[in-house]
C-alpha cells in the first residue's frame, strides 16, 4: 500500500490531493485489489485437467458450452498469473517445455536466440542491460538444451527445474523482459509492415516504448505476431469469450505455421493448453 516504496502505483500522484477526482481513487483502489489477487496466483501453475474450467463457469451456459468444446481438443491446462505478462510467460514456458521433447527444434531455436541479441544492439539498445537479460534468458534456454530430446522418463528433474525457475520472480521476469525486447526488435526492424497494425498516430518505436517494452503491459495480436515471427515459432491461440456460437475459435500465428505452443485466451488473459 502507501508505505511500499517499491509499489509501481506509488507515483501516480497525491492521495490527498483535492484535485484528484474520486473516480481515480476508486480506480486506484481497484488496481490494488487486482494486484493483491494477482499476486496470490503462482506465476505459472501446476498442470490441471481442463475440467477445472467447468467449475469456474458453473452457472454460465455460454462459457460452459465453449469449455466443452475446448475439452474435446485439450486435456490439460496450466494457469499463469494475470499480471499483464501472461502471454510472454505462457509462451516461453510452453515453448521451452516443448523443446525438451524436440532436439532439432531446440538447435534451430538456439541459433535464432543467439542472434537475437545482435539485432537488439544494432537497434541501439543499451549493451549492458540487453546482455544482462540475454544471459539469464540463455542460461535457462541452455539448461533445457542439455536435456532436450532425452528419454521422457528422465525429464522429471529438468521439468521441475524449469517450473521452479519460472516461479522465481527474478528469473521469470528476466525471461519476460528479454522476450519483450525481442518483440520490440522485431516490430522495429519490420516497422513498415507493423505500422499497419497500430491504431492512431503512434510510430512503431513509440508503440514499442509504451506497449511492448514496459513490464505488465498486456499483449495484443501485434505482440503475438511479432514474437512468433521473430522466433519462428507457431502459436495456436484458442479464443474463448462471450461471443456467439458454442465453439472456441482458434487462430494460428504466424498464419500457416505448425503450432508448437497452444494458448487459451480469455478476455485479458492467456493460459497454456495441452492436447
Amino acid at each position: 500500500m502507501a508505505d511500499d516504496a517499491s509499489s509501481s502505483s506509488g507515483c501516480t500522484g497525491n492521495l490527498v490531493d483535492n484535485s484528484i477526482n474520486q473516480d481515480e481513487l476508486i480506480m486506484k483502489q481497484q488496481r490494488e485489489i487486482e494486484k493483491e489477487i494477482s499476486e496470490s496466483i503462482p506465476l505459472v501453475g501446476e498442470l490441471e485437467a481442463i475440467s477445472s474450467l467447468e467449475k469456474e463457469y458453473n452457472e454460465d451456459p455460454v462459457y460452459l458450452l465453449k469449455v466443452k468444446d475446448l475439452a474435446s481438443k485439450y486435456k490439460y491446462m496450466r494457469r499463469t498469473r494475470p499480471d499483464g505478462n501472461c502471454f510472454f510467460r505462457a509462451f516461453s514456458y510452453a515453448y521451452l517445455e516443448y523443446l525438451l521433447t524436440d532436439k532439432a527444434e531446440y538447435e534451430k531455436f538456439f541459433e535464432i536466440a543467439k542472434n537475437s541479441k545482435e539485432i537488439l544492439l544494432a537497434l541501439g539498445f543499451s549493451q549492458f542491460t540487453v546482455e544482462d537479460f540475454y544471459e539469464t534468458f540463455m542460461e535457462v534456454v541452455q539448461r533445457v538444451g542439455e536435456q532436450a530430446g532425452g528419454a521422457a522418463d528422465g525429464m522429471e528433474p529438468i521439468r521441475a527445474e524449469l517450473h521452479d525457475k519460472f516461479n522465481k520472480q527474478g528469473y521469470s521476469d528476466y525471461i519476460v523482459v528479454y522476450l519483450r525486447l525481442v518483440t520490440s526488435g522485431q516490430l522495429q526492424t519490420q516497422h513498415d509492415f507493423y505500422q499497419n497494425f497500430i491504431e492512431g498516430p503512434r510510430t512503431v518505436t513509440e508503440f514499442c516504448r509504451q506497449e511492448v517494452e514496459p513490464m505488465y503491459k498486456e499483449s495484443d495480436h501485434i505482440h503475438i505476431i511479432a514474437l512468433s515471427n521473430a522466433l519462428n515459432v507457431g502459436v495456436r491461440v484458442e479464443y474463448m469469450d462471450r461471443g456467439e456460437g458454442s465453439q472456441v475459435i482458434a487462430h494460428v500465428f504466424p498464419e500457416g505455421a505448425k503450432p508448437l505452443v497452444q494458448l487459451l485466451y480469455r478476455p485479458g488473459h492467456y493460459d497454456i493448453l495441452y492436447a
Binding site: 500500500m1 502507501a2 508505505d3 516504496a5 517499491s6 509501481s8 502505483s9 506509488g10 507515483c11 501516480t12 500522484g13 497525491n14 492521495l15 490527498v16 490531493d17 483535492n18 474520486q22 473516480d23 481513487l25 476508486i26 486506484k28 483502489q29 537497434l123 541501439g124 539498445f125 543499451s126 549492458f128 542491460t129 540487453v130 544482462d132 537479460f133 539469464t136 520472480q169 527474478g170 528469473y171 521476469d173 528476466y174 523482459v177 525486447l181 518505436t205 516504448r209 509504451q210 517494452e213 514496459p214 513490464m215 505488465y216 503491459k217
Partner: protein, 251 residues
C-alpha cells in the same frame, strides 16, 4: 564490491544487475557519477553537473537513488539533496515517460539512463508538478553557485566527486528515450500532514484503533488509508444518492 558479493545473493538477477551497473559507473565522468553505499547495494549516491547554457550551469547537484527490491522491473527513485530550485530536496521523485503512468519504466533502462534523464529534465518548466519548484532564473543561478560548496555527510565535498573524463556518448536511441522521460514527485514522504476537509470527517472513526505508540510512518499510512476509505465512502454515497434521486424522479 567484494563485500557486496558476500552479503548479497549474486544469483539473484537484480543483485547481479546492480553489481554490473556499479562496474559500468565505477569511473566518475565530468557530467555524472554514482555509486552504491558501502553497506547497501540498493541505495546509491549520485552527483550530476548542471547542464550548460541553463540556469543550472556551473552547479553540482548531489542526491540519493533508492532501488526497489524489484529493480530493474520497477523504477529507481531519486532524491535530491543539494538545493537547486527545480526539485524539492529530500523528496522522492520518480521517472516515467512524459504523460504516461510510471509503469512505462523499462527494465532495459539503467541508473545511467535515470541520471542522463535527470540532467536533461532539469531545465524543463516545473508546471506545478508534485515535487517540482518554480524558482526564478536568478534564484537558481545563486543556488548553482552555492551548490559547489555543498557537502554530503557520507560522500564529503560533492564538487570533488566528478572527474574530467568525458562520459560515454549518448546514443541516438538513448537520446530519443531521454527526450521522453519526465520526473515527478510522489506524496509518500510528504512532510505536511494531509489536509482534506471532506475526508477528515471520516478520520476519527477509522483512527480509533490507532494506538498512541504507533510510529509516525504507520500513522501517516493509516491517515492515508483513512482518507482513501473516506473518499470512497463519500463517492459511493454520492453515487447512491444520485441514483436514488434519479430513481425517485422516474417513479
Amino acid at each position: 564490491m567484494a563485500d557486496m558479493g558476500e552479503k548479497y545473493n549474486t544469483k539473484c538477477p537484480g543483485v547481479k544487475r546492480l553489481m554490473r551497473e556499479a562496474m559500468e559507473l565505477a569511473e566518475a565522468t565530468e557530467e555524472y557519477c554514482a555509486r552504491p553505499l558501502e553497506d547497501n547495494l540498493f541505495e546509491w549516491h549520485f552527483t550530476v553537473k548542471g547542464p550548460k547554457g541553463t540556469d543550472f550551469e556551473g552547479g553540482i547537484y548531489h542526491g540519493r537513488i533508492l532501488l526497489p527490491k524489484e529493480y530493474p522491473m520497477h523504477p529507481p527513485h531519486i532524491i535530491l539533496l543539494t538545493p537547486n530550485g527545480r526539485f524539492e530536496v529530500n523528496k522522492k521523485i520518480c521517472l516515467s515517460i512524459s504523460g504516461h503512468h510510471p509503469e512505462t519504466w523499462q527494465p532495459s533502462w539503467s541508473i545511467r539512463t535515470a541520471l542522463l534523464a535527470l540532467i536533461a529534465f532539469m531545465p524543463t518548466p516545473a508546471e506545478g508538478t508534485i515535487g517540482s519548484l518554480d524558482y526564478t532564473p536568478a534564484e537558481r543561478k545563486v543556488l548553482a553557485k552555492k551548490s559547489v560548496t555543498w557537502s554530503c555527510p557520507l560522500c564529503g565535498d560533492t564538487a570533488a566527486l566528478l572527474s574530467s573524463t568525458a562520459a560515454k556518448p549518448i546514443t541516438e536511441e538513448e537520446q530519443s528515450v531521454l527526450n521522453q522521460i519526465a520526473f515527478k514527485g510522489e506524496e509518500e514522504q510528504a512532510a505536511k500532514p494531509p489536509e482534506e476537509p471532506a475526508a477528515q470527517e471520516v478520520q476519527p472513526q477509522v483512527l480509533e484503533s490507532t494506538e498512541p505508540s504507533t510510529g509516525f510512518l504507520d500513522q501517516l499510512t493509516e491517515v492515508l488509508v483513512a482518507l482513501l476509505v473516506g473518499a470512497i465512502g463519500i463517492f459511493i454515497y454520492r453515487r447512491w444518492n444520485a441514483h436514488y434521486s434519479s430513481a425517485e424522479t422516474e417513479l
